[in-house]
Amino acid sequence: MAVLTGIPLGVLAALRPGSGLDLSVMVLALLGVSMPVFWFGLLAILIFSVGLGWFPVAGKGTLAHLILPAITLGINATALLARMTRGTLLEVLSQDYIRTARAKGLAERVVIFKHALRNALIPVVTVVGLEFGTLLSGAVITETIFAWPGLGQLLVGSILARDYPVVQGAVLLVAITFVLINLLVDLLYATIDPRVRYD
């Protein structure tokens, strides 16, 4: 979700720097990175579950149980990706090769998506990888809010109960997953950027 909304928002903002759209996306993104996940989660429960009754308040079960926790978990990453994409895309758009691409009469769509975005995405991919880790650890808090019986709740519960073997196991699992994801990100570089080679 973060990738699907964050990157397009960043692209939109970068295409019209200084416009109202750019400003509102950036203000929202700044708020998004400044918000504690647990507070946003509680507000989401208050508005969508208690107030409007669209989603269940907490617990595990249907797909509907998954929506609010997923949005809550993704909100910080979305905001961060929007900021990041805008920043790198703006930088790339001022490069000489973008002017060249425009000069040879390519459609703006092709310039943006094939020439600019591909180059701008390299640092963004790094952040996506790192954000995966933040999501893994953010799940600890999100699961507590929504009473989702997952690894995060197990971790907090076992810390409070001083059940150290379980703490070690849970932490190790998260750390290994995170390291593996970062390895994947490193491998992904080579696909996006042909200059990167692992011999």
Binding site: L30, L31, V33, S34, M35, P36, V37, F38, W39, L42, L43, I45, L46, V50, L130, F132, G133, T134, L136, S137, G138, V140, I141, T144, I145, L155, V156, I159, L160, Y164, V167, V171, V174, A175, F178, V179
Partner: protein
Amino acid sequence: MTRPWRRLIRHRLAQAGFLLLFLYLLGALFAPFLAPYSPYSQDLRSTYIPPLAGLSLRGPGGEWGLWVSPAFRHPLEGVQVRWEEKYPVRFLVRGEAWSWLGVRGELHLFGVEGPARLYLLGTDEQGRDLFSRILYGIPISLSIGLVAVGIGLLLGTPLGALPAYLGGRWDLLAQRLVDILLAFPGILLAIVLVAILGPGLLNGMIAVGIAAVPIYARLVRGVVLSLKSLDYVEAARALGASHARILLRHILPNALTPLLIQTSLQMAIAILFAAGLGFLGLGARPPEPEWGLMLARGREYLAVAPHVATFPGLAIVGLVLAFNLLGDALRDALDPRSR
């Protein structure tokens, strides 16, 4: 004043950030004066009173002004207000005695004359005034941020600078250490450290601080590596400068700008992390007016008293936003690459 600093002061984001931070600092400094009540004084007859309950603009004789009627919670019928009693709101009143930073007093910015209480932001599960608790929470969150960032700076800078400067085996060793710390993403490192140290406010600060160490170490390492083989460093060495002098006087000053930017952003992260720990019950302990902890208590009665969770969260957002704004503005103003 140099150009970057002037640019910073004119920066609109920076102005917003400075203003927010200034308001929070004022709040922290004058907390007991601005807060009408003690953050610990409870009243079990008035739990979960909504914000501004019992406030009216007309007095008993119909005269205009701010008047408060006693609000309390009936065990069956919920919040009740005794509208027939009205007491005036007064400014600069004598109320509960306080002692703050070595100063004693009993003067408060505002208060109610009579047996009613004015709850600007309502009360929590023990009938404590939420507004007072949020004010007293500012110094807690600020000091968590400062201590945590201080630990990160003091441990992270040498961990990044020395091995990078010495190179070889030391560099390898330090890098692996940083790698290990970085394998625990985000708040998880802080959670793990709390699991080792045990829950509590001080341990929470230490944990959040250590979680910042690898970030500083990596930042400083990058700067040192990029500079240590430059000609001017070589020249200093040829002139007979000691290693300590080269590192401290010639290399590290170049890291000040990125460190300053990082520190502002890191304050924001530290405050968020500490609130997260408090929320999970791993940070500050009750009855401490720590925002994350207050939010966690508000979660239990979200439907009945949404204000208990909403306002501490807003307080966190504001403070974190201030540091994020400052960090962004610092980067815009001081980083030569982002022009």
